[in-house]
Amino acid sequence: MSAGGAGGGAKGGYPQQTIMAIGAVGGLAGIYLGHFMPPAFSFFGGLGAICAIVWGADAVRRVASYGLGTGVPSIGMIALGMGIVAALFGLSVGGIAGPIVSFIAAAVIGAIIGVLANKVIGMGIPIMEQAMVEIAGAGTLAIIGLSVVIAGEFTYGPVIENVVANGYIALIFIIGGMGILHPFNANLGPDEKQDRTLMLAVEKAAIAVVIAGFASSLHEGLMAAGLNIFIGLIIWAFAFMKYYGLVKRDAHAVVGTGLLPSAEELQ
Protein backbone atom coordinates (compact mmCIF):
# COMPACT_ATOMS: atom_id res chain seq x y z
CA MET A 1 0.00 0.00 0.00
CA SER A 2 3.00 2.21 -0.12
CA ALA A 3 1.79 3.17 -3.58
CA GLY A 4 -0.59 5.44 -1.75
CA GLY A 5 2.15 7.98 -1.14
CA ALA A 6 1.14 11.57 -0.71
CA GLY A 7 1.46 12.33 -4.38
CA GLY A 8 5.04 13.53 -4.27
CA GLY A 9 6.43 15.65 -7.04
CA ALA A 10 4.78 15.43 -10.41
CA LYS A 11 7.89 13.87 -11.90
CA GLY A 12 8.82 11.90 -8.81
CA GLY A 13 8.51 8.17 -9.02
CA TYR A 14 8.94 5.25 -6.72
CA PRO A 15 12.11 3.39 -7.74
CA GLN A 16 11.64 0.09 -9.51
CA GLN A 17 13.43 -1.90 -6.78
CA THR A 18 11.08 -0.60 -4.07
CA ILE A 19 7.97 -1.62 -6.00
CA MET A 20 9.55 -4.97 -6.83
CA ALA A 21 10.32 -5.60 -3.16
CA ILE A 22 6.81 -4.62 -2.10
CA GLY A 23 5.31 -6.91 -4.70
CA ALA A 24 7.46 -9.97 -4.12
CA VAL A 25 7.93 -9.76 -0.34
CA GLY A 26 4.48 -8.34 0.39
CA GLY A 27 2.83 -10.82 -1.94
CA LEU A 28 4.56 -13.88 -0.47
CA ALA A 29 4.12 -12.64 3.13
CA GLY A 30 0.40 -12.08 2.56
CA ILE A 31 -0.02 -15.50 1.00
CA TYR A 32 1.78 -17.30 3.87
CA LEU A 33 -0.05 -15.30 6.57
CA GLY A 34 -3.38 -16.07 4.91
CA HIS A 35 -2.45 -19.75 4.74
CA PHE A 36 -1.26 -20.25 8.32
CA MET A 37 -3.74 -18.00 10.14
CA PRO A 38 -7.33 -19.20 10.75
CA PRO A 39 -9.78 -18.84 7.82
CA ALA A 40 -11.10 -15.54 9.19
CA PHE A 41 -7.73 -14.00 8.31
CA SER A 42 -7.70 -15.13 4.70
CA PHE A 43 -7.86 -11.43 3.77
CA PHE A 44 -4.07 -11.44 4.18
CA GLY A 45 -3.98 -13.35 0.90
CA GLY A 46 -5.93 -10.47 -0.60
CA LEU A 47 -3.44 -7.93 0.75
CA GLY A 48 -0.67 -10.03 -0.83
CA ALA A 49 -2.58 -10.01 -4.12
CA ILE A 50 -2.88 -6.20 -3.92
CA CYS A 51 0.91 -5.88 -3.51
CA ALA A 52 1.49 -8.26 -6.43
CA ILE A 53 -1.00 -6.44 -8.68
CA VAL A 54 0.62 -3.07 -7.93
CA TRP A 55 3.99 -4.58 -8.85
CA GLY A 56 2.55 -6.08 -12.05
CA ALA A 57 0.97 -2.77 -13.03
CA ASP A 58 4.30 -1.00 -12.52
CA ALA A 59 6.11 -3.59 -14.66
CA VAL A 60 3.46 -3.19 -17.39
CA ARG A 61 3.91 0.56 -17.14
CA ARG A 62 7.67 0.28 -17.67
CA VAL A 63 7.53 -2.14 -20.60
CA ALA A 64 4.49 -0.57 -22.26
CA SER A 65 6.12 2.87 -22.21
CA TYR A 66 8.17 1.61 -25.15
CA GLY A 67 5.07 2.15 -27.26
CA LEU A 68 3.14 -1.08 -26.95
CA GLY A 69 -0.15 0.81 -27.35
CA THR A 70 -2.86 -1.74 -28.03
CA GLY A 71 -0.51 -4.43 -26.70
CA VAL A 72 -1.13 -3.30 -23.13
CA PRO A 73 -4.23 -5.49 -22.64
CA SER A 74 -2.43 -8.43 -24.26
CA ILE A 75 0.47 -8.19 -21.85
CA GLY A 76 -1.93 -8.28 -18.89
CA MET A 77 -3.53 -11.42 -20.28
CA ILE A 78 -0.17 -13.12 -20.86
CA ALA A 79 0.79 -12.25 -17.26
CA LEU A 80 -2.07 -14.25 -15.84
CA GLY A 81 -1.70 -16.95 -18.49
CA MET A 82 1.87 -17.56 -17.37
CA GLY A 83 0.70 -17.13 -13.79
CA ILE A 84 -1.91 -19.91 -13.90
CA VAL A 85 0.54 -22.43 -15.36
CA ALA A 86 3.24 -21.52 -12.84
CA ALA A 87 0.85 -21.36 -9.88
CA LEU A 88 -0.74 -24.75 -10.46
CA PHE A 89 2.63 -26.35 -11.19
CA GLY A 90 4.24 -24.90 -8.06
CA LEU A 91 1.34 -25.71 -5.75
CA SER A 92 1.14 -29.29 -7.02
CA VAL A 93 4.82 -30.12 -6.46
CA GLY A 94 5.91 -27.63 -3.81
CA GLY A 95 3.85 -28.54 -0.76
CA ILE A 96 4.43 -25.88 1.86
CA ALA A 97 6.98 -24.18 -0.37
CA GLY A 98 4.36 -24.09 -3.16
CA PRO A 99 4.13 -20.32 -3.66
CA ILE A 100 7.93 -20.00 -3.78
CA VAL A 101 8.25 -22.85 -6.29
CA SER A 102 5.47 -21.21 -8.35
CA PHE A 103 7.26 -17.91 -8.18
CA ILE A 104 10.52 -19.44 -9.45
CA ALA A 105 8.67 -21.38 -12.16
CA ALA A 106 6.99 -18.11 -13.22
CA ALA A 107 10.37 -16.40 -13.44
CA VAL A 108 11.66 -19.17 -15.72
CA ILE A 109 8.55 -19.08 -17.95
CA GLY A 110 8.69 -15.28 -18.06
CA ALA A 111 12.36 -15.31 -19.03
CA ILE A 112 11.73 -17.80 -21.85
CA ILE A 113 8.80 -15.75 -23.20
CA GLY A 114 10.81 -12.55 -22.88
CA VAL A 115 13.71 -14.04 -24.85
CA LEU A 116 11.29 -15.40 -27.46
CA ALA A 117 9.63 -11.98 -27.80
CA ASN A 118 12.92 -10.19 -28.30
CA LYS A 119 15.04 -12.74 -30.19
CA VAL A 120 12.50 -14.68 -32.27
CA ILE A 121 9.66 -12.21 -32.80
CA GLY A 122 12.17 -9.37 -32.75
CA MET A 123 10.28 -6.82 -30.66
CA GLY A 124 13.57 -5.26 -29.61
CA ILE A 125 12.39 -3.83 -26.29
CA PRO A 126 15.51 -3.58 -24.07
CA ILE A 127 13.81 -4.43 -20.77
CA MET A 128 11.53 -7.11 -22.25
CA GLU A 129 13.18 -10.12 -20.56
CA GLN A 130 13.26 -8.54 -17.12
CA ALA A 131 9.74 -7.13 -17.43
CA MET A 132 8.34 -10.50 -18.50
CA VAL A 133 9.95 -12.17 -15.46
CA GLU A 134 8.41 -9.53 -13.22
CA ILE A 135 4.99 -9.67 -14.86
CA ALA A 136 4.89 -13.48 -14.64
CA GLY A 137 5.89 -13.36 -10.97
CA ALA A 138 3.30 -10.72 -10.17
CA GLY A 139 0.59 -12.64 -12.04
CA THR A 140 1.44 -15.84 -10.16
CA LEU A 141 1.34 -14.15 -6.76
CA ALA A 142 -1.96 -12.44 -7.65
CA ILE A 143 -3.51 -15.78 -8.57
CA ILE A 144 -2.27 -17.56 -5.45
CA GLY A 145 -3.23 -14.60 -3.24
CA LEU A 146 -6.80 -14.48 -4.53
CA SER A 147 -6.98 -18.30 -4.32
CA VAL A 148 -6.01 -18.05 -0.65
CA VAL A 149 -8.87 -15.57 -0.16
CA ILE A 150 -11.37 -18.02 -1.66
CA ALA A 151 -9.98 -21.33 -0.34
CA GLY A 152 -8.39 -20.10 2.91
CA GLU A 153 -5.15 -21.93 2.10
CA PHE A 154 -2.88 -22.72 -0.83
CA THR A 155 -2.61 -26.51 -0.50
CA TYR A 156 -3.09 -28.08 -3.94
CA GLY A 157 -6.16 -30.21 -3.13
CA PRO A 158 -8.36 -27.49 -1.59
CA VAL A 159 -7.32 -24.99 -4.27
CA ILE A 160 -8.34 -27.43 -7.01
CA GLU A 161 -11.61 -28.18 -5.23
CA ASN A 162 -12.63 -24.66 -4.18
CA VAL A 163 -11.12 -22.52 -6.92
CA VAL A 164 -10.46 -24.52 -10.09
CA ALA A 165 -13.25 -27.12 -10.21
CA ASN A 166 -16.07 -24.62 -9.70
CA GLY A 167 -14.71 -22.26 -12.33
CA TYR A 168 -13.67 -19.39 -10.05
CA ILE A 169 -10.21 -19.67 -11.59
CA ALA A 170 -11.74 -17.92 -14.63
CA LEU A 171 -12.87 -15.07 -12.38
CA ILE A 172 -9.43 -14.82 -10.75
CA PHE A 173 -7.75 -14.92 -14.15
CA ILE A 174 -9.71 -12.04 -15.60
CA ILE A 175 -10.04 -9.86 -12.49
CA GLY A 176 -6.32 -10.22 -11.68
CA GLY A 177 -5.38 -9.66 -15.31
CA MET A 178 -7.52 -6.52 -15.53
CA GLY A 179 -5.98 -5.34 -12.26
CA ILE A 180 -2.54 -5.57 -13.85
CA LEU A 181 -3.35 -4.22 -17.32
CA HIS A 182 -6.07 -1.66 -16.59
CA PRO A 183 -4.08 0.90 -14.54
CA PHE A 184 -1.61 1.77 -17.28
CA ASN A 185 -4.16 1.31 -20.05
CA ALA A 186 -6.61 3.66 -18.35
CA ASN A 187 -3.94 6.30 -17.76
CA LEU A 188 -2.26 6.04 -21.15
CA GLY A 189 -1.13 9.38 -22.50
CA PRO A 190 1.82 11.75 -22.51
CA ASP A 191 1.01 13.15 -19.05
CA GLU A 192 0.70 9.81 -17.27
CA LYS A 193 2.07 9.80 -13.70
CA GLN A 194 3.34 6.78 -11.81
CA ASP A 195 1.59 7.46 -8.51
CA ARG A 196 -1.78 7.87 -10.24
CA THR A 197 -1.32 4.64 -12.20
CA LEU A 198 -0.30 2.67 -9.11
CA MET A 199 -3.16 4.09 -7.06
CA LEU A 200 -5.52 2.83 -9.73
CA ALA A 201 -3.86 -0.59 -9.40
CA VAL A 202 -4.67 -0.56 -5.67
CA GLU A 203 -8.27 0.37 -6.46
CA LYS A 204 -8.70 -2.41 -9.03
CA ALA A 205 -6.98 -4.97 -6.79
CA ALA A 206 -9.35 -4.01 -3.96
CA ILE A 207 -12.31 -4.82 -6.22
CA ALA A 208 -10.72 -8.22 -6.86
CA VAL A 209 -10.47 -8.77 -3.09
CA VAL A 210 -14.15 -7.81 -2.60
CA ILE A 211 -15.40 -10.20 -5.29
CA ALA A 212 -13.07 -13.03 -4.20
CA GLY A 213 -14.13 -12.33 -0.61
CA PHE A 214 -17.76 -12.79 -1.56
CA ALA A 215 -16.90 -16.09 -3.22
CA SER A 216 -15.07 -17.15 -0.05
CA SER A 217 -18.40 -17.40 1.80
CA LEU A 218 -18.92 -20.78 0.09
CA HIS A 219 -16.02 -22.37 1.90
CA GLU A 220 -15.11 -20.16 4.85
CA GLY A 221 -18.49 -19.06 6.11
CA LEU A 222 -20.14 -15.68 6.35
CA MET A 223 -17.89 -14.18 9.02
CA ALA A 224 -14.68 -14.60 7.06
CA ALA A 225 -16.39 -13.52 3.84
CA GLY A 226 -17.81 -10.45 5.55
CA LEU A 227 -14.36 -9.50 6.84
CA ASN A 228 -12.82 -10.00 3.39
CA ILE A 229 -15.47 -7.85 1.73
CA PHE A 230 -15.26 -5.17 4.44
CA ILE A 231 -11.47 -4.82 4.16
CA GLY A 232 -11.69 -4.82 0.37
CA LEU A 233 -14.34 -2.10 0.40
CA ILE A 234 -12.36 0.09 2.83
CA ILE A 235 -9.25 -0.13 0.64
CA TRP A 236 -11.35 0.46 -2.47
CA ALA A 237 -13.02 3.58 -1.09
CA PHE A 238 -9.69 4.98 0.12
CA ALA A 239 -7.92 4.25 -3.17
CA PHE A 240 -10.76 5.59 -5.30
CA MET A 241 -10.91 8.90 -3.45
CA LYS A 242 -7.13 9.15 -3.58
CA TYR A 243 -7.15 8.38 -7.32
CA TYR A 244 -9.79 11.05 -7.93
CA GLY A 245 -7.64 13.48 -5.99
CA LEU A 246 -4.64 12.65 -8.19
CA VAL A 247 -6.79 13.04 -11.31
CA LYS A 248 -7.81 16.51 -10.12
CA ARG A 249 -4.14 17.30 -9.48
CA ASP A 250 -3.01 16.14 -12.93
CA ALA A 251 -5.89 17.13 -15.21
CA HIS A 252 -5.93 20.32 -17.25
CA ALA A 253 -9.28 21.21 -15.71
CA VAL A 254 -12.05 19.33 -13.94
CA VAL A 255 -15.26 21.20 -14.70
CA GLY A 256 -18.88 20.51 -13.78
CA THR A 257 -20.01 21.29 -17.29
CA GLY A 258 -18.97 23.53 -20.15
CA LEU A 259 -18.56 24.06 -23.86
CA LEU A 260 -15.52 22.93 -25.81
CA PRO A 261 -12.45 25.16 -25.47
CA SER A 262 -12.19 27.69 -28.29
CA ALA A 263 -9.28 27.87 -30.73
CA GLU A 264 -7.78 30.81 -28.80
CA GLU A 265 -7.92 28.90 -25.53
CA LEU A 266 -6.08 25.98 -27.14
CA GLN A 267 -3.15 28.15 -28.19
Partner: protein, 304 residues
Protein backbone atom coordinates in the same frame (compact mmCIF):
# COMPACT_ATOMS: atom_id res chain seq x y z
CA UNK B 1 -34.45 -34.80 -22.53
CA UNK B 2 -37.42 -34.43 -24.87
CA UNK B 3 -36.23 -33.10 -28.23
CA UNK B 4 -39.04 -30.52 -28.15
CA UNK B 5 -37.94 -29.14 -24.77
CA UNK B 6 -34.37 -29.06 -26.05
CA UNK B 7 -35.46 -26.98 -29.05
CA UNK B 8 -37.46 -24.65 -26.81
CA UNK B 9 -34.49 -24.07 -24.52
CA UNK B 10 -32.31 -23.53 -27.56
CA UNK B 11 -34.73 -20.90 -28.90
CA UNK B 12 -34.65 -19.10 -25.55
CA UNK B 13 -30.84 -19.20 -25.51
CA UNK B 14 -30.79 -17.78 -29.03
CA UNK B 15 -33.09 -14.90 -28.04
CA UNK B 16 -31.06 -14.07 -24.92
CA UNK B 17 -27.85 -14.15 -26.98
CA UNK B 18 -29.34 -11.80 -29.59
CA UNK B 19 -30.26 -9.26 -26.92
CA UNK B 20 -26.83 -9.65 -25.31
CA UNK B 21 -25.08 -8.98 -28.62
CA UNK B 22 -27.12 -5.86 -29.34
CA UNK B 23 -26.70 -4.38 -25.85
CA UNK B 24 -22.98 -5.24 -25.82
CA UNK B 25 -22.38 -3.24 -28.98
CA UNK B 26 -24.40 -0.25 -27.78
CA UNK B 27 -22.62 -0.36 -24.42
CA UNK B 28 -19.26 -0.09 -26.14
CA UNK B 29 -20.55 2.69 -28.42
CA UNK B 30 -21.80 4.94 -25.60
CA UNK B 31 -18.30 4.89 -24.14
CA UNK B 32 -16.34 4.66 -27.43
CA UNK B 33 -14.60 1.50 -26.31
CA UNK B 34 -12.41 -0.70 -28.50
CA UNK B 35 -11.57 0.29 -32.10
CA UNK B 36 -13.24 3.74 -32.26
CA UNK B 37 -11.43 4.61 -29.06
CA UNK B 38 -8.10 5.27 -30.79
CA UNK B 39 -9.53 8.23 -32.69
CA UNK B 40 -11.32 9.57 -29.61
CA UNK B 41 -7.98 9.33 -27.81
CA UNK B 42 -6.11 10.99 -30.69
CA UNK B 43 -8.54 13.88 -31.21
CA UNK B 44 -7.31 16.22 -28.42
CA UNK B 45 -3.72 15.80 -29.62
CA UNK B 46 -4.84 17.13 -33.02
CA UNK B 47 -6.42 20.16 -31.32
CA UNK B 48 -9.91 18.69 -31.32
CA UNK B 49 -10.98 18.49 -27.67
CA UNK B 50 -14.34 16.78 -27.33
CA UNK B 51 -17.15 15.73 -25.01
CA UNK B 52 -17.14 12.05 -25.97
CA UNK B 53 -16.71 9.38 -23.29
CA UNK B 54 -13.23 7.84 -23.54
CA UNK B 55 -13.89 4.42 -22.01
CA UNK B 56 -10.55 2.64 -22.44
CA UNK B 57 -11.27 -0.63 -20.62
CA UNK B 58 -8.94 -2.88 -22.65
CA UNK B 59 -10.63 -4.53 -25.63
CA UNK B 60 -14.25 -5.60 -25.53
CA UNK B 61 -13.52 -9.34 -25.05
CA UNK B 62 -11.63 -8.98 -21.71
CA UNK B 63 -14.02 -6.36 -20.33
CA UNK B 64 -17.08 -8.46 -21.17
CA UNK B 65 -15.41 -11.59 -19.82
CA UNK B 66 -14.84 -9.68 -16.59
CA UNK B 67 -18.47 -8.55 -16.29
CA UNK B 68 -19.84 -11.98 -17.06
CA UNK B 69 -17.52 -13.94 -14.78
CA UNK B 70 -18.08 -11.50 -11.88
CA UNK B 71 -21.83 -11.83 -12.40
CA UNK B 72 -21.64 -15.62 -12.59
CA UNK B 73 -19.42 -15.92 -9.50
CA UNK B 74 -21.77 -13.75 -7.43
CA UNK B 75 -24.80 -15.64 -8.74
CA UNK B 76 -23.36 -19.10 -7.98
CA UNK B 77 -22.50 -18.01 -4.43
CA UNK B 78 -26.02 -16.66 -3.94
CA UNK B 79 -27.56 -19.86 -5.30
CA UNK B 80 -25.50 -22.34 -3.27
CA UNK B 81 -24.69 -20.41 -0.08
CA UNK B 82 -27.80 -18.27 0.33
CA UNK B 83 -30.20 -20.70 -1.49
CA UNK B 84 -31.60 -17.82 -3.49
CA UNK B 85 -33.84 -18.52 -6.49
CA UNK B 86 -31.67 -18.62 -9.64
CA UNK B 87 -33.58 -15.77 -11.28
CA UNK B 88 -32.91 -13.39 -8.38
CA UNK B 89 -29.34 -14.61 -8.11
CA UNK B 90 -28.67 -13.92 -11.79
CA UNK B 91 -30.21 -10.43 -11.48
CA UNK B 92 -28.15 -9.55 -8.39
CA UNK B 93 -25.02 -11.00 -9.98
CA UNK B 94 -25.56 -8.86 -13.07
CA UNK B 95 -26.13 -5.81 -10.87
CA UNK B 96 -22.80 -6.33 -9.08
CA UNK B 97 -21.09 -6.88 -12.43
CA UNK B 98 -22.58 -3.65 -13.79
CA UNK B 99 -21.28 -1.74 -10.75
CA UNK B 100 -17.79 -3.21 -11.18
CA UNK B 101 -17.86 -2.28 -14.85
CA UNK B 102 -18.97 1.22 -13.88
CA UNK B 103 -15.83 1.71 -11.78
CA UNK B 104 -13.67 0.52 -14.69
CA UNK B 105 -15.44 2.97 -17.03
CA UNK B 106 -15.15 5.96 -14.68
CA UNK B 107 -11.48 5.39 -13.83
CA UNK B 108 -10.52 5.02 -17.47
CA UNK B 109 -12.27 8.18 -18.67
CA UNK B 110 -10.79 10.16 -15.77
CA UNK B 111 -7.30 8.71 -16.26
CA UNK B 112 -7.14 9.11 -20.02
CA UNK B 113 -8.36 12.70 -19.90
CA UNK B 114 -5.96 13.59 -17.07
CA UNK B 115 -3.07 12.15 -19.09
CA UNK B 116 -3.85 14.62 -21.90
CA UNK B 117 -3.17 17.69 -19.83
CA UNK B 118 -0.81 19.29 -22.34
CA UNK B 119 -3.53 19.17 -25.03
CA UNK B 120 -5.94 21.01 -22.71
CA UNK B 121 -8.64 18.35 -22.71
CA UNK B 122 -10.95 19.21 -19.79
CA UNK B 123 -12.75 16.56 -17.72
CA UNK B 124 -16.50 17.23 -17.95
CA UNK B 125 -18.10 15.79 -14.82
CA UNK B 126 -21.67 16.17 -16.12
CA UNK B 127 -20.74 14.02 -19.12
CA UNK B 128 -19.32 11.32 -16.84
CA UNK B 129 -22.34 11.45 -14.52
CA UNK B 130 -24.82 11.17 -17.37
CA UNK B 131 -23.04 8.51 -19.44
CA UNK B 132 -21.87 6.10 -16.73
CA UNK B 133 -25.40 4.97 -15.70
CA UNK B 134 -26.20 4.28 -19.36
CA UNK B 135 -23.02 2.20 -19.70
CA UNK B 136 -23.89 0.33 -16.51
CA UNK B 137 -27.45 -0.23 -17.74
CA UNK B 138 -26.30 -1.76 -21.01
CA UNK B 139 -23.68 -3.86 -19.23
CA UNK B 140 -26.39 -5.12 -16.85
CA UNK B 141 -28.50 -6.28 -19.81
CA UNK B 142 -25.50 -7.92 -21.48
CA UNK B 143 -24.39 -9.72 -18.33
CA UNK B 144 -27.89 -10.87 -17.46
CA UNK B 145 -28.48 -12.32 -20.93
CA UNK B 146 -25.10 -14.04 -20.99
CA UNK B 147 -25.82 -15.50 -17.55
CA UNK B 148 -29.19 -16.78 -18.82
CA UNK B 149 -27.43 -18.45 -21.75
CA UNK B 150 -24.76 -19.99 -19.50
CA UNK B 151 -27.24 -21.06 -16.82
CA UNK B 152 -29.51 -22.76 -19.36
CA UNK B 153 -26.53 -24.55 -20.88
CA UNK B 154 -25.27 -25.81 -17.52
CA UNK B 155 -28.56 -26.72 -15.87
CA UNK B 156 -30.89 -27.70 -18.71
CA UNK B 157 -28.59 -28.82 -21.53
CA UNK B 158 -26.16 -30.40 -19.06
CA UNK B 159 -22.96 -28.69 -20.24
CA UNK B 160 -20.02 -30.08 -18.21
CA UNK B 161 -18.40 -26.67 -17.53
CA UNK B 162 -19.25 -24.73 -14.33
CA UNK B 163 -21.35 -21.58 -14.70
CA UNK B 164 -18.49 -19.14 -14.08
CA UNK B 165 -16.28 -20.74 -16.71
CA UNK B 166 -19.08 -20.79 -19.31
CA UNK B 167 -19.97 -17.17 -18.60
CA UNK B 168 -16.31 -16.25 -18.99
CA UNK B 169 -16.11 -17.97 -22.38
CA UNK B 170 -19.39 -16.46 -23.64
CA UNK B 171 -18.27 -13.06 -22.35
CA UNK B 172 -15.12 -13.26 -24.46
CA UNK B 173 -17.20 -14.41 -27.44
CA UNK B 174 -19.79 -11.64 -27.21
CA UNK B 175 -17.00 -9.09 -26.84
CA UNK B 176 -15.14 -10.44 -29.84
CA UNK B 177 -18.26 -10.41 -32.02
CA UNK B 178 -19.26 -6.96 -30.81
CA UNK B 179 -15.78 -5.72 -31.58
CA UNK B 180 -15.59 -7.22 -35.07
CA UNK B 181 -19.19 -6.71 -36.21
CA UNK B 182 -20.48 -3.68 -34.37
CA UNK B 183 -17.50 -1.37 -34.24
CA UNK B 184 -17.41 -0.94 -38.01
CA UNK B 185 -20.65 1.02 -37.84
CA UNK B 186 -19.36 3.45 -35.25
CA UNK B 187 -15.66 3.77 -36.03
CA UNK B 188 -15.46 4.28 -39.77
CA UNK B 189 -18.85 5.83 -40.44
CA UNK B 190 -20.04 7.79 -37.45
CA UNK B 191 -16.79 9.36 -36.32
CA UNK B 192 -15.96 10.66 -39.80
CA UNK B 193 -19.38 11.62 -41.08
CA UNK B 194 -18.18 14.98 -42.32
CA UNK B 195 -16.02 13.33 -44.97
CA UNK B 196 -17.39 11.73 -48.11
CA UNK B 197 -18.87 8.30 -47.51
CA UNK B 198 -16.56 5.48 -48.55
CA UNK B 199 -13.47 7.64 -48.89
CA UNK B 200 -11.61 5.75 -46.18
CA UNK B 201 -9.63 7.44 -43.45
CA UNK B 202 -7.02 9.77 -44.86
CA UNK B 203 -4.04 10.13 -42.51
CA UNK B 204 -4.46 13.91 -42.53
CA UNK B 205 -7.97 13.50 -41.13
CA UNK B 206 -6.80 11.41 -38.18
CA UNK B 207 -8.31 12.64 -34.95
CA UNK B 208 -10.67 15.01 -36.76
CA UNK B 209 -13.77 13.26 -35.44
CA UNK B 210 -17.26 14.78 -35.52
CA UNK B 211 -17.60 16.81 -32.32
CA UNK B 212 -20.82 18.71 -32.95
CA UNK B 213 -24.19 16.99 -33.18
CA UNK B 214 -27.51 17.83 -34.84
CA UNK B 215 -28.12 20.03 -31.84
CA UNK B 216 -25.29 21.06 -29.55
CA UNK B 217 -22.14 19.06 -28.90
CA UNK B 218 -22.05 15.41 -29.88
CA UNK B 219 -21.78 12.86 -27.09
CA UNK B 220 -22.00 9.11 -26.50
CA UNK B 221 -25.82 9.12 -26.55
CA UNK B 222 -25.81 10.38 -30.13
CA UNK B 223 -23.44 7.60 -31.11
CA UNK B 224 -25.50 4.87 -29.47
CA UNK B 225 -28.64 6.34 -31.10
CA UNK B 226 -26.95 6.02 -34.48
CA UNK B 227 -25.63 2.52 -33.81
CA UNK B 228 -28.96 1.31 -32.43
CA UNK B 229 -30.36 1.61 -35.96
CA UNK B 230 -28.08 -0.99 -37.51
CA UNK B 231 -24.78 -1.75 -35.77
CA UNK B 232 -26.31 -2.99 -32.52
CA UNK B 233 -29.01 -5.21 -34.03
CA UNK B 234 -26.62 -6.72 -36.57
CA UNK B 235 -24.20 -7.58 -33.75
CA UNK B 236 -27.12 -9.17 -31.91
CA UNK B 237 -28.02 -11.29 -34.95
CA UNK B 238 -24.40 -12.31 -35.42
CA UNK B 239 -24.00 -13.40 -31.79
CA UNK B 240 -27.46 -14.98 -31.63
CA UNK B 241 -26.67 -17.01 -34.76
CA UNK B 242 -23.31 -18.09 -33.33
CA UNK B 243 -24.89 -19.33 -30.11
CA UNK B 244 -27.98 -20.82 -31.76
CA UNK B 245 -26.27 -22.61 -34.66
CA UNK B 246 -23.41 -23.74 -32.43
CA UNK B 247 -25.80 -25.55 -30.10
CA UNK B 248 -28.38 -26.51 -32.75
CA UNK B 249 -26.23 -29.20 -34.36
CA UNK B 250 -25.78 -31.11 -31.12
CA UNK B 251 -29.43 -30.69 -30.10
CA UNK B 252 -30.73 -32.14 -33.38
CA UNK B 253 -28.04 -34.81 -33.61
CA UNK B 254 -27.32 -35.65 -29.98
CA UNK B 255 -23.85 -37.25 -29.69
CA UNK B 256 -24.98 -38.89 -26.43
CA UNK B 257 -27.30 -41.14 -28.50
CA UNK B 258 -24.51 -42.79 -30.42
CA UNK B 259 -21.47 -42.37 -32.60
CA UNK B 260 -23.44 -42.00 -35.85
CA UNK B 261 -25.44 -39.10 -34.41
CA UNK B 262 -22.19 -37.53 -33.25
CA UNK B 263 -20.74 -37.67 -36.76
CA UNK B 264 -23.98 -36.25 -38.18
CA UNK B 265 -23.59 -33.27 -35.85
CA UNK B 266 -20.02 -32.74 -37.09
CA UNK B 267 -21.17 -32.92 -40.72
CA UNK B 268 -24.03 -30.49 -40.04
CA UNK B 269 -21.58 -28.07 -38.39
CA UNK B 270 -19.18 -28.22 -41.34
CA UNK B 271 -22.08 -27.74 -43.76
CA UNK B 272 -23.24 -24.62 -41.91
CA UNK B 273 -19.73 -23.15 -41.97
CA UNK B 274 -19.37 -23.87 -45.71
CA UNK B 275 -22.77 -22.35 -46.53
CA UNK B 276 -21.92 -19.20 -44.58
CA UNK B 277 -18.48 -18.89 -46.27
CA UNK B 278 -20.01 -19.22 -49.76
CA UNK B 279 -22.85 -16.83 -48.88
CA UNK B 280 -20.39 -14.21 -47.59
CA UNK B 281 -18.22 -14.58 -50.66
CA UNK B 282 -21.27 -14.08 -52.95
CA UNK B 283 -22.26 -10.94 -51.04
CA UNK B 284 -18.77 -9.50 -51.38
CA UNK B 285 -18.58 -10.24 -55.12
CA UNK B 286 -22.05 -8.69 -55.64
CA UNK B 287 -21.07 -5.60 -53.67
CA UNK B 288 -17.87 -5.13 -55.65
CA UNK B 289 -19.79 -5.45 -58.92
CA UNK B 290 -22.45 -3.00 -57.83
CA UNK B 291 -20.27 -0.32 -56.23
CA UNK B 292 -16.82 -1.01 -57.67
CA UNK B 293 -13.61 0.69 -56.50
CA UNK B 294 -13.68 4.23 -55.13
CA UNK B 295 -13.91 6.69 -58.01
CA UNK B 296 -12.30 10.10 -57.90
CA UNK B 297 -14.47 13.18 -58.30
CA UNK B 298 -14.47 14.88 -61.68
CA UNK B 299 -13.25 18.10 -60.03
CA UNK B 300 -10.37 16.25 -58.39
CA UNK B 301 -9.40 14.74 -61.75
CA UNK B 302 -9.53 18.16 -63.38
CA UNK B 303 -7.34 19.74 -60.73
CA UNK B 304 -4.89 16.84 -60.89
Amino acid sequence: MEPLIGMGVLALIGVAATIAGASEDLESDVGSQSNPNSQVQLAPQMMFPHRIYNKAVSGEPPSNALMCSVGAAVATVLISEFTLSPLFALVIGSLVAACVHGTFAVTSVLGRSASQKRFKQPIYLDMIRSHTPVIMGYSFITTFCILIVSYMMTVVLGHPFPLTMLAFIWGITVGAIGSSTGDVHYGAEREFQQFEFGSGLNASNSGNIVRYGESGIRNGYDNSWFCAKFGGPVTGIAFGMTVFLGSWVTTIFDPAKGLTQGWFSVIAGVAIVLILIIWNWKIEVEARKAFGPYKEDKTEEASA
